[in-house]
Symmetry: D2
Subunit: 301 residues, 4 copies
């Protein structure tokens, strides 16, 4: 995907798609797909196993699980519960063994609707750390619930601080065994908006899908395993222009296409994003689905 | 702009633009432009004077005043105040003489951010009707303030009723001399999002810029003069694809273009809209600017 | 309860309590109590059958059903569902026979938390009128669902209009068979805050429990049966002072008490109200419980 | 103020009042009052200079500045601006010399209206740290603006963590020179609700006005100077009962009064608070006034 206008996606599976289309196998990348007809969930597991694969996929080495569930866009409570259970199932497999304390972090800006998924999820997380510390585990009347704490650090324009600075401080004070980071993602395809969940053991790389691994929230930078959980809520406005014409241009040379596309995306589209019209209601609903999945996974650790 | 995919705009001036580009004069349509360099406001007054002009412009006969103020996207309080004053100036000229009572109506869905402009404007309107009825005009300590009432009727999915049904009832009970209807609009160009204000004495035609005048909120249907005030807050997602390629296709025949474009806009874009990323903050700010303009215009009636 | 400081309550059963305490039977007033131990619901049905009873009870002639469910203050979803069912059961008995269309009205100010119950309930009401009018009843796939419409008229400071004016207009346009009016109430006892539901076929008398029946929203003024549904969300701040000392003053003469109490409630308490500390969360939760009860009752009409 | 029912206040000046009433001078406590007639602001400066004074005043050693401005309850923008300026004046005097970096902390629960002052103030604070670190001070086009960062840590029920733990971590990462902590306070008198601002160099003692200094956010615990800024938003419901009767009981012995009062405050009042009816609007307005004061004070450091 060379060229001046870079189509950005946070979904590893979308980066895998262009190689699939060309029937190219990527060394160091294993992609496994399955479909549960009854639940209408497409599951894609992408394992990036080498730095070579990481470079081609433009994502760090690790495991990426994507659940595509088109019916998530509908306000069907029962279905959302099923997705929560599915999410809990995969999340438990990504958790390290013997988890005694978990920090759940909600990234994003609560005042920007499509970016508010993280902060909203935190509102429904079952917090136990202060209870266990005060009264012991028995106070919860269950076995094996870890100490769960949560934080909404805010974005840099609100705090003046790197999320990293805030998290490092809190981690050194509270020493969690694992960190879950929830964030709204960008997708390439509007088809995936608000009906796709990605879980990954590579954490979250805020602001960009590409390159600079050091700025990400991950085990390398935070010295604790970090699991990223995200749902794409926006598509860059330039992307839909790009996608719409690219099919029609298949006969052109790639370099020509790049030039053509670079001109095609007008400056007025910068700062614009594409969202479903009912984004406010959507993000409210999905924050329940995700928090329910997290609550369930952590209950049975 | 015939063809299968119809680009929709609520701005009369945008419909005027394609004729301008071709240097075509439209009989029955007078377009006057001016630019205030100091305030950086482009003002376009479109007068549609005949049914023939109305058909070409796809808007009812009447006057449309558009203020384009690019700096509106910036949170500069002083500048917003200037736009409020400008809006008040034009609004006063559209008001009928001897206004004793005004009903301000905020259309749209308060729970959908880009559609919440109308309801939010109402929150800042200075309401006087109940005070004047109870204590007389002197209670306000000023001369000439009319009785101002306001209503947020909600959208059909929330009420089960036509806005028309609700308004007709309220009008017959309270008999206002003029109705101001505030609504979020759709534009064709992302360049105009959240920095353009349209005032018109033709009211508002919810849901479509075209055709069926009978469903609109206007003097014909409500038997009271209706002034529409709107700011474009969304562009249809299909539109940006359409616009981006249309330049490149200028050499094709128009019928070819239509076919081409119809295929170009993928079904996944239906229900999608393009908005500025900071729409939540934008709509909050603009609702003050508009309500301030209305308050000022009505104070000096 | 004569005297200068009038303790205000919207709950008929609270007005009944002082007679009970004195073991006085009131001619023209029938009070029936029951307790469902399994659900922990106290039900009080007050029937005021004569104008004499109405005067003593300071409420209009009619039926008042009060459900007291202390566990409503706890966020237990299952329990809230039971109360919704109970509410639906009583509401159905108050509905007139052969209801084809219902207008649900949410009174109160959405921007004042304890007063926002009505507007919030409306957000969850299942609206059917526009669907049935467009596609017929079959579109809903069920038998017997009436046309349901809803309105949030706002309060006078927001609209400049009487709720009555707005409703009369809407009623004459849409002719509902019955009107449900939902409102936050004032109670005398903090014990009843946010865990008591009152249903009544006498409508709602906004602003006062006493006297002027003509200003109320009821069958007499709106010419359609009106059912009021309310939950006490505030206690007047003066009331808790009044209540606290009145026990201690039982030996004094009533006229002395009045004088004493009048002095006791300091002016600084005017405009103050007593609410549970978690009122924001409480009103959110209860609005679901009430709307669910209404939706259930109307589904099976 | 011995006795079973403890009237709680976060305002040092209210604790000073009972000694004043008795014309008792407290050794180690200096109280200075002044009144600005033009601005209608009463200013009280309480200096607690000894541990003996601290014990009597039930507040730590330090300076407490209280501005009482009754007109703050009115939505008069000009007046609020004056109070912001007054607040900035006093705040600057409390700041240590040579401040290069400031952390502003908004305590409280954003979802509980009367407790949301802190988080709301943060929304309007001018954040500069990330800009200065990226582009240098010149980027701001002004001299002497310090690096300003901000944090909304949330309350323990939301995070599972002590505010202290979160702050200590963030402080060790970002090393601010001074911390401003904004919080909603409890007052004893409803007269002071939402029209009184307290500034103090003793930080904030969340949850209680009394005793345990070690749990507070202050220089001793955080090793950085901490300035507390608070506005009383609630009065404990028991307090208004207590206050109302205490005048009438002046002839009784103090021990009798305590017993009497302990019985007077009924259990149903626990968890209840007294707030102005328009608390939602009030807290919105005051958060601007406070943040404006902070922004002004920090601009000219």
């Amino acid at each position: 995907m060379a060229g001046k206008y870079r189509v950005r996606t946070d979904l590893a599976m979308e980066n895998g798609e262009k190689y699939e289309k060309d029937n190219v196998e990527i060394s160091g990348v294993v992609i496994r797909k399955s479909y549960d007809r009854k639940k209408d969930i497409h599951t894609t597991v992408v394992k990036i196993e080498s730095e070579y694969g990481a470079k081609l996929m433009e994502k760090p080495v690790g495991t990426y699980i994507t659940l595509e569930a088109p019916s998530l866009v509908v306000p069907d409570e029962g279905y959302h519960r099923e997705i929560s259970a599915e999410l809990a199932y995969h999340l438990k497999k990504l958790l390290p063994p013997h988890v005694d304390s978990v920090l759940v972090v909600g990234l994003g800006n609560r005042n920007i609707t499509p970016d508010s998924l993280g902060p909203r999820v935190i509102e429904h997380i079952r917090i136990t750390r202060h209870i266990i510390r005060e009264y012991g585990e028995e106070a919860l009347g269950e076995d094996g619930t870890p100490m769960i704490s949560a934080l909404v650090p805010g974005v840099m324009a609100q705090t003046g601080m790197d999320t990293m600075e805030i998290l490092q401080g809190v981690i050194s004070e509270t020493s969690p065994d694992v960190i879950l980071v929830v964030d709204a993602l960008a997708a390439r395809s509007t088809r995936r908006l608000s009906c796709t969940v990605q879980l990954t053991d590579t954490g979250i790389c805020p602001g960009s899908g590409v390159g600079n691994h050091r700025c990400g929230l991950n085990e390398e930078t935070l010295h604790v395993p970090v699991i990223g959980i995200g749902i794409p809520m926006v598509v860059d406005a330039g992307t839909i222009v790009h996608d719409a014409v690219s099919n029609l241009l298949e006969t052109l040379e790639e370099s020509e296409i790049d030039e053509f596309l670079a001109e095609l995306v007008p400056p007025a589209l910068h700062g614009m994003c594409v969202t479903p019209k009912d984004i406010d209601e959507t993000v409210r609903r999905l924050s329940f689905t995700v928090s329910e999945g997290i609550n369930q996974a952590l209950k049975e650790v």
